[in-house]
Amino acid sequence: MSELNTRREFLRNLGLGMAALPFITNLPCLASEQKQRKQRLVIIFSPDGVVPGTFWPDEEGENFTLKESLKPLEPYKKNTLLLHGVCDLIRGDGDNHMRGIGCLLTGIELFPGNIQGGSDTPAGWASGISIDQEIKNALQAKPATKTRFGSLEFGVMVPERADTWTRMCYAGPNKPVAPIDNPYQMFSRLYGREKDRESLKSVLDDLREDLNRIRQSVGTEDRRILEEHTALVREMELELKTNLSKNAVHPVPVIEPGVRRDNDNIPQISKLQIDLMVSSFMADFARVATLQYTNSVGQARMRWLGISEGQHDLSHEPDSNADAQNKLTRINHWYCSQIAYLVKRLSETPEPGGNGTLFDNTLIVWTNELGQGNSHTLDNIPFVLVGNAPNFKMGRSLKLKRVPHNRLLMSLAHSFGHHITRFGNPDFCGAGPLQLG
């Protein structure tokens, strides 16, 4: 239905006054734009934990060295904040993979259910909203920060089954949000209406020509209705012309066609999705985005790195298996390089109608359902923050003392001016948001 709604909107917006609105609000001369900087949040998920020894810096503070897994972030080190010691303390039903992803952004227990994990009790969906949706709702509630979509949920090779292991975002209790892992589907969601306008414009001439021809052939009494019809077509043609010329502000991106949904195409799909995310920010379609690589227990086979084993199988290997640990490090290095690519794209793209680049107004949070794969620990969940946001002092490596991740989720909301006093399970929100400024 949502596709339809946007199309309906599009048609209604064909009218001149309405059509101009989304463009006008994005112009720098408008007061609202000056009062409040645009602010964006991107949350990126990769699965199966990390290799702590090659991930976390040894040092604490502003002087630290990025280890092998995080090397791709070297150029953006000044804008990177590494948070060691943030723990997912949520317990209850479900195994650690399930709670790992299901409680990661919700900070609250799973409902009891019928999904049986490799251990523990069976569980269902998370029992609360996730932080990305919470912030999106807060932004959508205010005219100054409201955007066409509010949030966009991207995915890369997310399995085609809906269960606790494949969903990270929740619109509310028992309301998982499915990521879109097909870039072409995402493209038509974002730009379908622009393509439709082009198609419409291309056929109207022919339509009018045929209408004229038919009008000549019917009796005089029947001409009236066809004349009225022709006038309507002409009206639409005029409006489209005006509309398309305004459209030049945000041209529809051209994307590589024909990339199939396949394990070996993960690098291309990832790039397409990141490019689309950047385009959507340029057009200010959304201020919140998530990007989910595969799923909890993800089994990507990174053959493009020369690794033929599935990631989850590798993650179970003991620390003593140096080959496996090396491969896992390279796998995380690859995910990190995707973050770096996103940062690069954002920092090369000027903020439309504002100063600086998109990167100046974006905070990226890269995370994972586990601290480490072979122990399935929910302690020291990787939280790698890159970018710029109020209340976050970047360029540091912090070693925190087993703080519940709920507090970090609250910090994200506070950074957007959404001052919630608790999020998820209140028992883990006691000391309030983490102070990271």
């Binding site: 199309r7 259910g113 049986q116 809906a162 209790p173 056929v203 022919d206 019917v218 009494e221």
Partner: protein
Amino acid sequence: MHKLPASPLLPALTALLLTIAAGVSVIAFQTQKPHPGERIYRQQCASCHGAKGEGAKAYPKPLTGTQSVEQLADFISKNMPPGPKKCSVPDSKQVAAYIHAAFYSPIAQARNKPPRIELSRLTTRQYCNAVADLIGSFRPAPAQDERRGLRGEYFRSRTFRNNEKQIERIDPAVDFDFGREAPAKEGFDPRLFSIRWEGSVLVPETGEYEFVLRTQQAAALWLNDMRKPLIDAWVKSGNDTEFRGSLFLLGGRAYPLRLEFSKAKQGVDDSNQTKNQPVAPASISLLWKPPHRVVEPIPQRSLIPSRGPEVYVVSTPFPADDRSMGYERGTSVSRAWDEATTEAALAAGDYITEKLPELAGVSENASDRRQKLRSFCRLFVERAFRRPLTDDLEKIYVSRPFDTAPDLDTAVKRVVLLTLKSPRFLYRELESGKPDAYTTASRLSFALWDSLPDRELLQAAAEGQLSTYEQVRKQAERMGSDPRTWFKLREFLLQWLKVDLYPDLVKNPKSYPGFDEAAASDLRTSLELSLQESVWSERSDYRELMLSKKVYLNGRLAKIYGVNLPPDAGFQPVLLNAEDRAGVLTHPYILSSFAYLDASSPIHRGVLVSRSFLGRVIQPPPVAVAPVAPDLQPNLTTRQRVEMQTKPPACMSCHALINPLGFPLERFDAIGKLRTQEKGKPIDSSGSYLARNGKTVSFSNAVDLGRFLSESDEAHAAFIEKLFQYTTKQPIRAYGPSTITKLQQDFRANQFNIRKILQEMVAVSASGS
């Protein structure tokens, strides 16, 4: 019982009907004195201006214009007639008033114009059906299956492995409580089994359907779209045991359905470790909430055990069609309509390009993809336009989009967009002059199905098999037995009975205990079952529709209407008050609809009989009148109250007709239940009707009224005219002045068979010019 003399009266009767249909006078059946201005006009003006202002030798220009009555009167008194002696001021006023209303004004001109077949766009109903059938024509035809229920397969595993299948059968409905048991005594472990139901769901009417699954276990429902579940409750989470999903569906069609159920944990299989744990309960029900109804298990009559192809449903909202003539018609266009056609065409384009491998039979990377898609598009345009494509049109509608679009998918999308926006698709009767075979084919299919011609019909047109009336009649007969014809007939009957817009059937719960929302919903079902039995049977006898004493009741309704049936009994025909019931007019749903919260309404019932059954035209009341509240006159019966209130002569001009047609139904209360007295007084159910031939017919009760309606030529003519106009969406007089008379004779000759007369009138309209 009075009988109307039949044939000698016919011409006069027809003439009357014609006048009424043209709307010259809303009370044409009453004897009227000629307008005083008419006498003056005839004496002093007609010799120069013609009897109807059409002009004469002395002054050949027709008397038409846009001056007001007063302006005209002023002009006449000063200028007419030529010569020294002018028309007096009062006379001028009379003449002006007369000619203005009779032929001078644009309104009078429009009224006097002979009716003709008007160029019309598709109505919304026709548009939705046409798009569904156009896309559906590239899919296998839905299987004809008379069986009802769903095919159920029962497995002794948590998923559906064929070697674990233990039972395969047709279940009448999905409404099972297994408790802690297995589906059968043997072959199953009650801890772990799964069931898959497949088939189709037959949807009675267009609208939003809510589907409901109730289960404590894992279940998922696919409806129409077999790839994406409408309800996905495979992950059980928390305490919810009820899951809902809504879908907009077109009535009269069957949609594929699959329901999967699993009593087992999902995810990692740990069944080996849980063998000795206590057995949990299991149940599953599949329910729905059709538009304006309550939630109920999907009944067996709406389930088919075989699965047909997906149906494309236009979900774009369209502005409502003009119903001012009593039937939907497409004689005007508006911006909202134009926008809706664009939106709907774009949506269809998206759908088609997404399904190209299935619809066009061409894979993503076929080497001849371009060529195959072009032929697909050519066929698409041809079927949309209902006639062979000329080279000229092929150039515009196929070649140009293929030559200019950046890629093939966009080309297909543009063909679809242009085709569905084209007047050749959107309009009917674009060809002037005598209809050719393809116009005849379209007229047939739109009249019977509100949709495009099917393959057989187009083939008949191509082979010249639609050139004689007999050939056309034969096609009408073939198409007339298709379920789509019943669907259209059903829609006609409901709007003829004025219940297509769903009156809000609420009754005072104190006076009518048990008559709740569910009972109202059941009563509606009962009406539709009765209509189907009377009209969609072989006999399809109009007289049975007017006289049947059978009413469909289930357990809930039986209790309310005092019939002895088990509380959980399904719908069955019951002889209900055989002495007093007479056909559809006495169906409790109709009687309840034309009644108040607490009281019957002879006026509403009388208006229904006058307008729908006898084709009389009644003006709205001259002044707004609030009905007298029953508690203000606690001692009066409903009849006495109505008589008292409508006594003034201004009221009686219409109520003299209305009231005595409503009074015979007074033996039925506000829910259509039989009563013998009201407020301690016996019911007076006598009534009468002053027929168009000037004779008065009297009735002592509903059965007399039903018998009169079943035999009256007036009623037959009204029924035929309304059915004709509803099916063709054109005025019946546009097909020649004798059409209605001829159809009336055919109706009588064929034992008043409604299906046959429908086929006949459709054939007449399809071959007429």
